[in-house]
Point group: D2
Chain length 441, copies 4
């Protein structure tokens, strides 16, 4: 993390003045309430800490997530809504289930709604019906992946969304989504405050790529790595099974190589890992093609893993395209590499056997594994605690092993990436032996 000073105070809709129903419950005797003054330090490096202390710089901290003794809303009259946006990710149903059960059983909220198909669900013209949610509708939704609410990509009009919330008389809105969704959530929260409404907006960051700033882990990532190893085993078997066999896998990772790097450590059959954070050349004495040719000559086969955002420099001259969410549409590095490799060896008159594997949609649609499932349960419960306390414009995050409240703008201000001289990438370089793949300038 870059060593910035952040104001990490979480906005509130007003003073939380109602006793939490948890106080009288059986659980209450067991669980300590969390105070807004329970905070953890963000940067824990001693050197930075000592420097800051010397300069008397204020320390940056995060508020701990968890149940508050005083809550803001009267649960008996409260209406809550939730929405899942963007691409599928293992764990969506776990979070939905966890929010619903916590609202229902522990705060006694009886009016809980699921908006269908992402932000479209708020907009009348799409005609998507709202889903009533309660224990019966969420108990058995974990065996399968996807989202029972459905999802969609792309922005919708902020005011129309808030109009819908007002019409439905919603007081807490839970938004589960990626970068774009969180930025929309920020705008919604700001506009709500401008319109002097009393609606909390609580975000849960969703990114299978694990690339959200200030959040050490995002849900679904562990499941994605788990299953990516199957694709690597397959690619390895196909590569090793033929003379000059090449297995080429495209894994998720638009802006960061966490999945590609971690999966390549989990299943160490990979010889070249290509990620957005580390530049590489195709041609030239140190380029990928020469390295690949050398590897085939000495070992007879090779496995390559490319994150989908790797090597975008090769497409610089092609016209920019954007998808419905406004994200720049990445050129397909998988297909590009497949063709480049194929052409290279054809021109060198070397017969190869290349197999291309793109497991993306088989991974995104999976149910969460045990680890992610437990993690999602905590995310959901803590989102409810934050909302019930009247907090807004925050996301629930994980930092240094604690669940914390992070201001939305901090989470969306920049992206987390693989550090090219950190331990993760060093481990990948050791495991693959791939060297730099970059020609001297």
């Amino acid at each position: 993390m870059s060593h910035e000073i952040l104001d990490t105070t979480i906005p509130s809709l007003g003073k939380a003045g109602i006793d939490s129903p948890l106080i009288s419950s059986d659980i209450a005797s067991h669980q300590s309430f969390i105070d807004d003054k329970d905070r953890i330090l963000v940067s824990i490096r001693m050197a930075e800490l000592e420097a800051d202390l010397k300069k008397k710089k204020p320390l940056t901290y995060f508020e701990l997530a968890g149940p508050r003794r005083k809550i803001y809303y009267d649960a008996s009259k409260l209406r809550c809504a939730m929405v899942t946006c963007g691409g599928l990710c293992p764990g969506l149903n776990d979070i939905i289930r966890s929010i619903v059960l916590e609202l229902y059983h522990h705060y006694g909220v009886r009016n809980i709604y699921g908006m269908r198909y992402g932000l479209q669900g708020f907009i009348p013209k799409y005609g998507h019906e709202v889903m009533d949610l309660g224990p019966a509708s969420v108990t058995n939704i974990l065996d399968r992946g996807g989202s029972i609410l459905g999802s969609s990509r792309g922005p919708q009009d902020i005011d129309e969304i808030i109009d819908c919330l007002e019409r439905m008389n919603i007081s807490i809105l839970f938004m589960i989504g990626g970068d774009g969704t969180l930025r929309a959530a920020e705008q919604i929260a700001d506009t709500i405050m401008k319109r002097k409404l009393k609606i909390s907006v609580v975000g849960i960051p969703k990114t299978i790529d694990n690339d959200i700033h200030l959040i050490s882990r995002s849900f679904g990532f562990d499941t994605a790595v788990d299953v990516s190893t199957q694709a690597i085993i397959g690619a390895h078997n196909e590569a090793a099974g033929y003379p000059n066999g090449i297995g080429l896998i495209k894994l998720m990772g638009r802006h960061s190589g966490f999945i590609a790097s971690t999966a390549s450590l989990a299943q160490q059959d990979v010889n070249f890992v290509l990620i957005p954070e580390v530049d590489f050349d195709l041609e030239g004495p140190s380029g990928l093609l020469a390295a690949l040719e050398k590897r085939l000559a000495s070992r007879g086969h090779a496995v390559i893993v490319a994150a989908e955002g790797a090597g975008q420099k090769f497409f610089q001259d092609s016209p920019e395209e954007r998808d419905e969410s406004g994200n720049i549409r990445l050129k397909d590095i998988g297909v590009f590499l497949k063709n480049a490799i194929s052409n290279h060896f054809k021109s060198r008159n070397i017969e190869i056997n290349m197999k291309y594997i793109d497991p993306s949609y088989m991974i995104r649609s999976l149910p969460a594994n045990a680890n992610d499932s437990v993690f999602c349960g905590f995310l959901g419960r803590n989102a409810v605690h934050a909302g019930m306390a009247g907090k807004t414009k925050l996301v629930i995050g994980r930092w240094n092993n604690h669940f914390v409240h992070i201001p939305m703008e901090a989470a969306t201000s920049q992206r987390k990436q693989v550090c090219p001289d950190g331990e993760l990438w060093s481990a990948v370089l050791e495991a693959t032996g791939q060297g730099s793949l970059k020609n001297p300038a």
Copy 2:
């Protein structure tokens, strides 16, 4: 099975006159030897049987596979070789292991060789070294898929292959491969007999598609179906997760729809199954596109499974291409359908969310599941028994629940296909409710 008369006598290199070493082993007291006169009826329908008996037609039978009391080769001097050809298939290593262990432990054969990379392994110009095989080299090869010998596609010169066998002094050759390989095996066996050599050629039919004539089950198929269901779940989740979501999966099956049909019964989330055996239209009132549009209108999402050989009529006008094995290169029905569906809905101004999944290489490279692993063990052991008895030009097959000897030419004479009015396809039609997808003439 069509009701033909087959001569199913298995050729022999000579009279088997040596006592099987199994006789004196501990196993011998347990296992009955099989006699060449132990045979099973091929067609077991009473009506056909009674008609044949009336007409005094000779009944078609298969010789049972299994150990013979008298064997042809002197194990102490015997040299055996094996080769795996064509595409990967779950179970190859199981068969290799089973052949090696049976030769070694039960017949005492000490010279066992693995030819590398398919038929290339016999041809000097490729320079592939031969692999020495014994218990140590095969004990732990089952945890991973692929073939430890490697494979390759395409034919090689028959005489060069036999020259290699002569040079290496091989007396039994085990060939594991598909259609093309078995036809090569037939030619090799014929040429061997013409050249008056004493070399048995025993085949084990490999086809993940399960499409070999007279063989009710081929290894790897069960594993393939097992894992295809994962792709179907993924496609379903992606489809159900978006407005007008479509999940499109291409599964294996060049000439037969067994994998597509069986997987769609195993995971009943599929709305349209397309196979080579059943014609369908794209356009028109009963065509796939209209049916798909109707399904989206009523249910909001759809899952389509296409066997790779389905709908080849749509490519009739494109020039024919062949791969290295001489197989006609199929046009890619997956990509074709993806484009056709996309264009159709664009022209109708309907927004859809389509995800395309092609899990082929993740499936072919898997290790065998338990069922296939046991099955492969029997195939390998029975291949050894047949070879040791001096039989040649046969494949080991499974028919009516028995392991049998099948003449090579019978197995390659035609293909097994899904019967459009049989119970498998009827069950698929029931499970999908897809109707005929064929416009009235």
Copy 3:
């Protein structure tokens, strides 16, 4: 199969005279109806066939299962019930689902009931409510194991059961259960006929042990073998991980060793397989303990798989006990062996590290794997076809690769067992190298 002559005619409640609704459906154009005269030969060995023909003995055949052109019941007025009895087995929910969907969609039956908790469900004093079944209640029941209807062990009064059927006005009863259940079903069917009622009783044989006579495969067995291999891997790792390590696993198999034998072939880490069909000694020069000691001395570790019904002779002197179903309660061979081995090595002053694994309840409660799921679908559909045709007192079985009708008394007349000189047990002896474990008389 022993070579008996069987009368395999299936009883009927009367003449089936109504046109099947399948005739007019879209499926009908695809599916051939099956005629009662479509039959398959039971014994397909040529030698037996020729001998029978010579002696003019009538040939034994089974009627093919499948849809009939004429049916017996008027679907619009029909009420059907189903029940699952005895121990859990992978696939129960698949069969329930398949019966319900076939009755509903293809015959138009609208009154379908599930009896709760086995035969208890028929008996008023237990107070179990009946479950209404239809497509909505069965669509998503396959992701988990068990039975949505529940089950129970033990017999109930036959007349009370039939009284319940009469009160509920049931015309077809589907009974899914083991040996005891099928014998109860036989009695129910007989009494129904005596009481001149028009109620079909159709059985689907359930035995995870795969030990039903005349049925080459029973559902759940394949899943059980699949997962048993996990226990074997665990036992092997524990055994190999310690000096004189012993892994001891008890697998299912009260009267037959199919699971133990097949799992030991699927995961070849097992050194001793003990099954009910093959006698073995504990003490003495050839007994298990001596063999085990030898194995530890030479290899340092050993894995033993015991079917639960193995070695019952060691309990001959203990008093007989019966469970609620009236089955003789087996003494626990697993615990017995654990103690015997432990005592033996203690007395010999040899330190061992033994781990005992009993995975039974983790296996019985699993969902069906893909193979079993497809198989169960066919069993359910064929049970419906048989019931709709007015047939009774039959079970749906699988014989020589065809689904067939088998008279109940034939299926329950004796048990299928592992043949000690057949190919399965021979393969186990080869894979383990265990020898006879039986002292010379």
Copy 4:
């Protein structure tokens, strides 16, 4: 963590004065070296930090793990050994592999030895041979669980162990084991220093229970939770499948309930979780038996998960026993509960159907899942870096998301336990609704 002041300086055998070979390697350009002054704060709660700063108390920190620019040993002459002790745990082979590859490839160490069967491997009288280790012997050891070195329980004479190290001329010893092993390691390191030898002792804490003080996560735990969910699903299906069905599972956890708690959150079918940290009664109005009876009356079935160390108070009067490692042998809470529940309902004349599942040995022997595999890789590499730098008497741990050096005595000084008023146990209470299970005093 209790807020103690710890001296966390790591002892050194001498000044590290040799340039790391990593400097000249290709990796070096990518990886920053870690300086001994790179440290992280141990307690990151702001309140504690501010209080400490106010009182000018020294802050407790951990040294970061990672490669050092200067190393202590001359790799070309170095001999290293490693040993795995105690019970099996998923990930042992991953750590062995990682240590070997890092020593070999990145430091150029050529003499690497594996001691067989735990501490026994050092003691001549056992006669276990030493295993030579190098890339070839560890490349393919991850597909299976266990430890290729084997293990054993129980202490051995410290001086004999050091004599062996001297004889073998070992300079770095890697010890992978639990509590007892780490205490032995401490003694070994102390004695080595007393005997003025130059041998580093580096520990890697192994505890599937995740109960090591100051270590936020131990390897194998994630895999254990993952697979425990299978046992819970099985228990649930068995319980729900019968009238008054009870599924009782014993999971690992001698002194802590992390596995039981986390697995019960991952698979929320559990109604009662029993852990060592939280007292419960059996009898009385609030005791487990009354609560269970109530649950059966209202819901018809129940699932209970007991950590193996739960409820030890019930055995207070039985004589204490110890296993070979000197650990107090726990009385079996699983069997105890099974009998207590059975007797209770018998005495109340209520028929129940209880199934008892003890999956322990199927879990311990598993290969690591992807997450644990990656984690183990880092543990192994960091252990090597620490050893090469001449550090000793430390373990590699994970704290606040960083790999760190922890003094051995700090790690073994106390145990980590589930905090009864923390978020984990609160979440369990919410998920189960089990209440306190404790009678008022």
